[in-house]
Subunit: 351 residues, 4 copies
């Protein structure tokens, strides 16, 4: 209810703050019998972790994951699977006026209004650091999905105003911005550098595809598959929009163009993004999510303090000038959580 | 779990098919003590009902609502509140090859793959007709929200490629397409007419704003307020995308531009759309949703039948050439469901 | 959250008050493909309905059920299944001081403290009348369970201090108190008559067994199968206790006696009542529930009114002098809801 | 869904196996602003921990709790609160035929049938060891409840056939069996010793009371307060029955006796155990739970192995000859979880 849980049959609950002892997750509903590869989990965490490249934050965290339960002799037992990461580089420092001012673009103000208290140390629970456990849980989900032939891959489609001109899935992990177009990667990196030089930040668009999803996933009415994915992806800090298939462009199409014709060999187009009426149709699931520029910038900004007085603020510290490259595995993870839940739920659809 | 329920503390469960005896809703969690205005509920239903104008389906349904429980002497009692609408114009007819073919752009195929059975009579549960009960429940939510000073209004921002050049809230209900710009309404109506003449359909973009929302609503991590609204709005059939505040455009902005400065008098811009870090900040909540063109068109289309053979299909019947105008109150309703739930949840945020 | 919903994968939500327009239920999660027998539902409702015998209330309700959704051509479609019963004999009458006094043994006082308002007309939502929809939903559950070879039968084991000396399942429906021992039935009926003559009431004990339940149902930790059944059965108004297998007597046994030996042919005893560690073991599930005497009695009792002043009260009206016989099908229904949910959940236990 | 979560607004999710790295809990929904006393949590854990007295298991576990999140400067922040205990004495040993045989009275068989795999090392997830995290979470709940004037105390009412002749709350923690009657404690201890000498075990009855509970807690219909407590308490391994107030004895009472008269000064009796119609009435909440004798006994028993062949088994190891004294704080914890959840839920009952 208080929002630290996601999913129903594959139910993920996380905890942890940026500057607390650590972060963790409990997954309730991992089916018994899966040979779990911990290195795969660590690999996914490494794709998200800070300090991985010259365009990410300099905070150094190994993000080494420990599996605490739910696995015996390398195989899932069906009981709650827990994982833990210790924070190792949450520097104690003088927060200056960050401790009493609200950072523009940050959750500070809302948290203060909500709880009457807020954790100013790195944002506490509102820190993007919590997404580490999403990735850990998502990696378990991805391993389950792989067992059923489903694969998920996200990539940077646009960053700092630079578009990927093509989508080359094999190239995504070969450039530090995770661009689908390795040729565009350099321009994207330059855009980040330019913003950084001006004590500023940039955003971008992530595209994600899921292949091998069988037709029939998703529930009618409120838990449509796209609604669940939208919930999942919009729950990632900084994501401000999502669209499936033709998305916003579909608003301008005629029905005769937007409807995907069905043939004995499958659909001949994918305006729907693989989901119609909230149910997967067997086509590739495809969506895009827009990420805003990082809120924490060194440039001076206007804000107020807890007393309501006007102040100016410069958010120094170790912040990513662009969060898009590190958000790519988080988008994959959230998509995986939705798909495995829908796949399990589907086991109960028929007699 | 199977998707007919939405919300937690203000929990809505609906039932009903296009061609069954009727549609209904149970709301669990209506606080006791609200003087409920049934005419307001009927008014909202009238805004959604078929046959309300020359650009909507000709199906005639009074959509008269009956309150079955949860209210005594006009005041809510705190117990489950149920409402029922009888279907009165679900014409029995020869469905021809609709009974055995999958309509392009429709949920038919997915339902068949999921359940091994599907209701071909008007789409059954996948019919947009189910949204009537969302509107009824949303109307109760809106009455509660009004008690707390929160108002919600949606309107057509773009339709058939025609933009509203301005937003005049007072004018929305004065034109049959619910355009925020009464001057653009005529061109929008013409776009619908043109598509209809070609046995085709058009889509559009709905914008929605919520005013008076206190800062602090929404939950950290998975149940961010925008994630919940995205879930709610994407669960409406035909919605293919959503964006908050600057939305997809934010992906191209610098942080220094996109961050909304805070002053003692409030925010000086609203790039965030009233939600930061998933928590409302007291600013107007503002989002846009893209709706695809109606899938049911009389134009001939390619598809397959249940046996997998190629066929052509023309979907005749009483379909809306554009669903946007009737979806406006549905978007409001879903937004209301999220906000009242978040508002109740917030009562438990502090000691 | 507000308690009108039970279950997860087979999720039942009910509404309705004793003196409102009617009662209803939505079942979310009925698997597609079940040929549903409406007469079986009506038969179960008839076993619960008022006025069925000389020892039940004289209120006359046909409790005729209407299926509103979720079934096409007699077969479940997988979508929400709704049922409705209209109240037909909710007599308008002068409630006298019932409208302002709290009836001893009733929920009046608690409701008033909770909601600041209460429905004095027959108890409103707290009336036993709400159990009708449990029976309707339970009947759907029983039909599903029958498909999987599971049967449930409850019966009166003790009533008004009279014990059933034997358990003859075939005889249960042949006597009006649903005694498992037809020979004891007459003495039970006499006990009811004697209490009634003194403007008083009696209680009793219901035993319930489920046969054919496969080993492995129920979840570790919080959702143990017996915990779920206890939740389900204690949620029936008037039930004050439950015990499984040897139950309270097990507290006095040695482990060597209480442990059920396992042999290649099965268990040689059933002290556990078919559930160990919260998981079914394949043995017959067996439990007993204690029901208090009816609270509504014509005998004069001490109480207070809404102003807190001492008054005396005689609860006249059409009340059952003993609710046990009519509660028997309700206990079956609640047990069925738990078992079908556990059975569906089990589909997700393994890869 | 898979049962590792309990509660809604104060939602507890646990993990951990007897012989894994450790045990943990996430509490989602702790209101912000509570000054949390970690020593109180440790104190409650000490009351449950193994090796605490000569009548408990010799396994030595400090059960030292670490708070991982949700608390800043000693005060709850409103975000997920996590706690961890490391296992330190999970001896590696030769399990002999325990690894392939099903222990009578244990969950082994059910787990094997459910998951196709089971953790034979100390029972894995089915070990009573998981209750440590219930106690930790319950201690947080108790601290919250104390803030609202609610106190909970459980005690041994009967053990090995020996009754407590009186209830002296002050004496409970002064004897190692947590008897409410210190004079009976010696006989209870002797009963345990006698059973132990015969390689056997004994059970007992725990009574629990909650004082200061305001009238109005609990929800109508399915989530009655007693139903929730029954769910909570029956979810503790080894509990086989529960009764409220007069409980099973109420089945034999007349309504005129069982109804608790209400006077301007309160109720003059408490046959109801403080809950009527599922709603607290302001009276002391009082219930009793029956616990079976420990299943693990050294005495030889008949069982089968995984191949289905008959074998005999002696369960050696470090087992409690009676679990009742250590279950007392677990019963308190589970009661606390229900009450705090109901108390939070009640904040949403009215406008």
């Amino acid at each position: 209810m208080s929002g630290n849980t996601f999913g129903h049959l594959f139910r993920v609950t996380t905890f942890g703050e940026s500057h607390g002892p650590g972060l963790g997750v409990i997954i309730d509903g991992v089916p018994a019998g899966l040979r779990l590869d911990p290195e795969q989990i660590q690999h996914d965490l490494d794709r998200r972790r800070p300090g991985q490249s010259k365009v990410s934050t300099m905070r150094k965290e190994a993000d080494e994951v420990e599996i605490l339960s739910g696995v015996m002799d390398g195989v899932t037992t069906g009981t709650a699977l827990a994982m833990l990461i210790r924070n190792t580089d949450q520097r104690s420092r003088d927060y200056g006026n960050l401790a009493t001012c609200f950072r523009p673009g940050h959750a500070d103000y809302g948290y203060f209004k909500k709880y009457g208290i807020r954790d100013y140390r790195g944002g506490g629970r509102s820190s993007g650091r919590e997404t580490a456990m999403r990735v850990a849980a998502g990696s378990v989900a991805k391993q389950l999905l792989a067992h059923y032939g489903v694969t998920i891959q996200a990539y940077t489609l646009r960053l700092g105003g630079v578009d990927a001109a093509k989508v080359d899935l094999a190239a995504v992990e070969s450039n530090i911005v995770r661009s689908a177009d390795p040729d565009a990667a350099e321009a994207m990196i330059a855009a980040i550098r330019a913003a950084q030089a001006e004590m500023d930040s940039v955003g971008g668009i992530i595209e994600c595809r899921a292949d091998g999803v069988p037709a029939g996933l998703g529930e009618p009415v409120f838990d449509k598959l796209d609604a669940l994915i939208a919930h999942a992806v919009l729950s990632i800090g900084g994501i401000k929009g999502i669209e499936f298939g033709s998305g916003f462009a579909a608003a301008d199409l005629r029905g005769s163009v937007n409807n995907d014709p069905i043939t004995p060999d499958g659909f001949t187009s994918n305006h729907a993004g693989g989901i119609i009426g909230g149910i997967s149709n067997g086509n590739t699931i495809l969506f895009r999510a827009a990420m805003k520029p990082t809120s924490s910038i060194a440039k001076e900004q206007k804000t107020i303090d807890e007393a309501g007085s006007a102040v100016t603020i410069s958010v120094h510290g170790r912040h990513d000038p662009c969060l898009v490259p590190r958000a790519v595995p988080v988008v994959e993870a959230m998509t995986a959580l939705v798909l495995i839940d829908a796949l399990l739920q589907n086991r109960c659809a028929r007699l």
